[in-house]
Symmetry: C2
Subunit: 347 residues, 2 copies
């Protein structure tokens, strides 16, 4: 079934004009008489004419589309970022094409190639946990495709980046745990290679050391796929629970890890915070209806999406090559709830 649409030619024929006249009238060119313009505009409106975006982007060498490369959208944090992206893109007249890597390097490369084959004016990227080789982004960036990284950023490409203050996020959370009386704190981390993991680990470590608690590497458990499979989280957690030093608290490094950890602990009937306290990154609006309510580190996800998109469009629409890039660091927020307080909550 083919869907035939109205072209500028149809209007020209119907009105006895040249296509160029119609084109000019449609864009409100000065050199067109008021009556012709009115005629064209009204007729176009009447038959509901829409320009063909493929023809447009073929001609103008731009598509007014932005590609988004993320690991997953079924994740509170990322879906909020995407809402932020959309809000700006929409206002500026750009489409948003979302692709998910599902934490697979191969899929990320494929998606990126797909998007980059000129169907997209720029890319908004948060790396997959599997990604170590960044050459697919390097080559595109070198060719001049605008790219802005957010959240899990690529350290070796000089471009705009937007991240949370991951260091301060875990620093604050760890400090809070220490001040609440927890000394042996395990860290449930994502893949060791991604930027957020490193920054969050550093904040955790700093808070420990500042409080004369020695950093114990064996208390840091990595999830190579960011906990995409629950099995990864389970294995990390059971190691924490059975650790010789009997950890008193867990600091989880991402939305998925935090919720996964909570689910597993509940399932195993390990009381929180009675047996072990839990604090973690999450943007879930349900953190306060969990049992127990969950102490969480919130990221300004929506704002992150907005800023990243503004920066990207800035590069796309810049007449001259952009050479000065910056990394925006957004504040995280620690919301203290029952999962990290010594006193057993009343429900």
């Amino acid at each position: 079934m083919k869907y035939e649409a109205i072209t500028i030619k149809d209007i020209a024929k119907a009105l006895g004009l040249a296509t160029s006249t119609v084109s000019r009238a449609l864009k409100g060119s000065y050199e067109i008489s008021a009556e012709t313009r009115k005629l064209v505009l009204e007729y176009a409106e009447k038959i509901n004419y829409r320009p063909n975006p493929s023809a447009l982007s073929l001609k103008e060498k731009r598509s007014r589309a932005i590609g988004v490369v993320v690991c997953e959208i079924a994740n509170t944090f990322f879906s909020q970022v995407i809402n932020g992206i959309e809000s700006i893109a929409y206002d500026r007249g750009y489409y948003v094409i979302i692709s998910q890597s599902h934490e697979s390097y191969g899929r990320e490369v494929l998606n990126t190639q797909h998007l980059a084959s000129r169907s997209v004016d720029g890319l908004l990227v948060s790396l997959s946990t599997e990604t170590i080789d960044m050459s697919h982004f390097h080559s595109l960036h070198d060719k001049g495709l605008p790219i802005v990284f957010f959240d899990r950023v690529c350290e070796t490409i000089d471009t705009h980046k937007v991240i949370s203050d991951n260091f301060k996020g875990t620093y604050d959370a760890t400090l809070h745990l220490i001040n609440s009386g927890y000394k042996r704190i395990a860290h449930l981390a994502s893949a060791p290679n991604i930027s957020t993991t490193k920054e969050r680990l550093a904040g955790y470590r700093k808070a420990l050391e500042e409080n004369r608690i020695s950093y114990d590497e064996s208390l840091v458990m990595y999830c190579a796929h960011g906990g995409l499979g629950q099995d990864e989280i389970e294995s990390a957690l059971s190691q924490i629970i059975n650790h010789q030093s009997k950890p008193e608290a867990i600091l989880a490094a991402s939305d998925r890890l935090t919720l996964g950890a909570m689910a597993w602990l509940k399932d195993k009937k390990i009381s929180i915070p009675g047996k072990i306290a839990l604090v973690g990154f999450t943007n879930s609006q349900q953190a306060n209806i969990f049992s127990p309510s969950l102490t969480s580190i919130r990221q300004p996800a929506f704002e992150m999406g907005q800023i990243a998109t503004e920066k990207l469009i800035e590069i796309i629409e810049s007449k001259k090559p952009v050479l000065k890039f910056e990394t925006s660091v957004l504040k995280t927020e620690l919301v203290i709830r029952a999962s990290s307080t010594m006193i057993k909550p009343n429900e």
Copy 2:
């Protein structure tokens, strides 16, 4: 900053061939000598040639892109549907362009027009709560643009549709409440005009009547925007709580309503199920870590996305006009947990 890419012309020039020869070689045409083909293929691979999708879709009058129109992606149900859509689309070589209406009719119309201006081969749609006039879909459908509806479907357009067995979903849940000893059951419903609301209301009503509980219209509270704003949910809930008949249980009609209701009840310290029981639609994986764990009606969201996409591609790729359409009805699943059992759970 402009991003210049490799074209078929570059290959032709480099190899001293005509563009048509290169084009044919690239598609593995029979009339091209094996050596020329090999030459072209290898060179294309070497310089990482990708065809320009705009040129392709201008020529072939198709874009290999599918548009998705939903109210929101930051919603477990819809993000799971989108994952299902993506999984099929990707395999079949289609892009997916997602647009969100945020429950606004105007935004839905705009998004639809945007997508439909031939940048898309077909549309996958779940209506916004505000949508009553469906003419934007009617006109596109009449012009031959393939559309498949899912979840919140348009009753007046004859095309493929994919829905959950909403009637049975609420019927089962209501029956469960009745069998658990709850008689006065309120219904927190979405906008009265959307298909799911009607089907879910009917299931609820049927279960009541079959058990000789008279249907009381004043126990049904509608949220005109599906609870997009928490205020809508709050006002509906406070009416339920203060209802003269003292309702014993609430049946919530969607993911957003269910989680919103739970959050509000917890906030107001209204004990669940002590003071009032709660059962609702949700695909949240956290339903069992809520306090109390939440009895929920789960929809096969991923599968819904898959089926809708298969059906859409079937229409898109069909040589002759598709005239026979069907509505796929998928089974829901009732997961009984603590929020609807008389016995107060032990945590």
